[in-house]
Symmetry: C2
Subunit: 409 residues, 2 copies
Amino acid sequence: MALIVQKFGGTSVGTVERINNVAARVAAARAQGHDMVIVLSAMSGETNRLIELAKTITREPNAREMDVLMSTGEQVTIALLSIALEARGCPARSYTGAQVHILTDSMFNKARIVDIDGARVRSDLAQGRVVVVAGFQGVDEQGNITTLGRGGSDTTAVALAAALKADECQIYTDVDGVYTTDPRVVPDARRLDRITFEEMLEMASLGAKVLQIRSVEFASKYNVPLRVLSSFEDHGTGTLIAAEDEDMEQAVISGIAFNRDEAKLTMLGVTDQPGVAGKILGPVADAGIEVDMIIQNVAEDSTTDFTCTVHRNDYLKASNIFRAIATELGAREVIGDDKIVKISLVGVGMRSHAGIASKMFQTLASEGINIRMISTSEIKISVVVDEKYLELGVRALHDAFGLANLPGK
Amino acid sequence: MALIVQKFGGTSVGTVERINNVAARVAAARAQGHDMVIVLSAMSGETNRLIELAKTITREPNAREMDVLMSTGEQVTIALLSIALEARGCPARSYTGAQVHILTDSMFNKARIVDIDGARVRSDLAQGRVVVVAGFQGVDEQGNITTLGRGGSDTTAVALAAALKADECQIYTDVDGVYTTDPRVVPDARRLDRITFEEMLEMASLGAKVLQIRSVEFASKYNVPLRVLSSFEDHGTGTLIAAEDEDMEQAVISGIAFNRDEAKLTMLGVTDQPGVAGKILGPVADAGIEVDMIIQNVAEDSTTDFTCTVHRNDYLKASNIFRAIATELGAREVIGDDKIVKISLVGVGMRSHAGIASKMFQTLASEGINIRMISTSEIKISVVVDEKYLELGVRALHDAFGLANLPGK
């Protein structure tokens, strides 16, 4: 008998039939004696329908009112699931974000959760009810409806699990877990039984779009065990994302992440003086462009070369900014390439094992893949290579580190 | 500079284009310096779409959850109208029923308003904002979302107007006011400039479906001047429904109402003893059948005849109940007719004028129309006649009482 928070995304509640399936699953878990709290997204397509309505009126709809509009999507699904549960004889109560006091700041459209008062939910659970909560939404101190932004329902689920000290937070999606790499690239990619929060954060930010990164940060901060499961399969235990388990021997590498849509920009021959990096990146950040890797080589003849990667969509805009700054700083030249990708090895075991980097570089070299950039952190090594080598590189590394053969970690 | 509450129904906000039209109208009134509070229904069709979703899951959806579901309809329209107002540079804030503390009892699906806290609305008005409130919904003392039942948006508007001591509550509909009778029956029926609450109550309950009767009762109780206007015409002053004005000379008759879907049932030869009427009507009421006219003739030979009218849809069910009771009470016979209609003259002037009834009866007689039943109240006279005489009767009375020629009252 555990307290479990389950979150179902838009495709899992996309039709009345699927809502009935979710109800059956929840009622079965309740019948086993578990206390169940369910967090739902809007039916798939509904959020876009609402956005369309607003955009027909004006291109830039008022942010506060957009949240009033958008929050209706989840309110519909929580009501329908509760109706389906009650129809099965399983007592249920639905609540909007405001009703269970999911207190957020007042940043409409991208609010952050500040506090959750779990009293009302606990009282319903004590009375044997399933509690169904609208994801993605909250209320600010003035009582205004807020939304957490896209994917915010994962965060709602984790925050509720933290506030209620739930035993586990289960995220139901359209995949059955986290894989060693994308199975579309490496057919024998393997589902991981377990992965640490840190690894998941590196995997998520590097392109494994299973979970919203904010929800993983939240789970890590409050130590809420997260489980990713498939809504469409009845069996399977998915992937558990939890704190590092000291007793278990960690595999060296957990997975290989990659980003396809990268571009890089280099400013050559910049005078090497304090504050140069800030002068270059300031205007880029001001233009709303996110920078990923940043590399500055050792100075030579009092000048240096400064390189960073950006999303491919921002390449042209960033190039123009780079050229303007280069003129200002008297730099020699700006060069760039928007046909690059990033491949990253991720694993907490990396900390205690030497030689991972050299094995990675040798593996790529033996396939004739030239490495353009390298960046490392405590639990990951990323390399930038030409776009055409992506699949070859990922498959070679997946083999070299024996990921397909892992007995599940 | 007045404080005006305006209510727009489902067809008035049925499309984004119409919502834009409403925004233009509201912004224009605001620009004239009026404080504006707007109450909206769901977009036409939306309420039925939501009901359909729930009914696909179960025939008898949980009442509490139905209110969570249904209340999203108005929440969408208040957000869209506020977006449209803001896009025109007219500051606006939308609020759900819960947000402006429209406190109701806990009768889900048909809750009644207990109290409204106007503080939040007043504060926004003081800051120059248009306040847009979701009609039809409220919140109970436990914080559960409730709905007022169909047509409840009119009641929300009147209740808000009462709480805010508004100068006028304007109900925008698809007709441009209250008429002396249905213009489809009498082409020269005339729009009334003014009508009293009492007259409107008699007109509404008799089939003039312009306003929800509960909202008129509410307006009368709190003396809120109500105005019925067309959403689709820019000019026109509609019909003002207000308390009787002592200074004005009242026309004798304000209008002619009628109900097509009537049926009557008579129990012949019932022993005339105390409690008989209750014994007959108790089981009818228990079956959820509403009874309209009730007539009991003077006793003759210690027996009497008891007649009542019901809605035609209830005729068969009521007949069966009548026959069962007749056997029980030893009554002679039950007879009935479901091809009847009711025609009523309504007017506060009737109080001080003799001869209205006789003029009505003579007018009908001169057209060869036989009167089956008669019932009177202080400000109305109703007769039941054969269905086929409805149009003839209404036209004859409209002419006889000179309604088309009224200079507007």
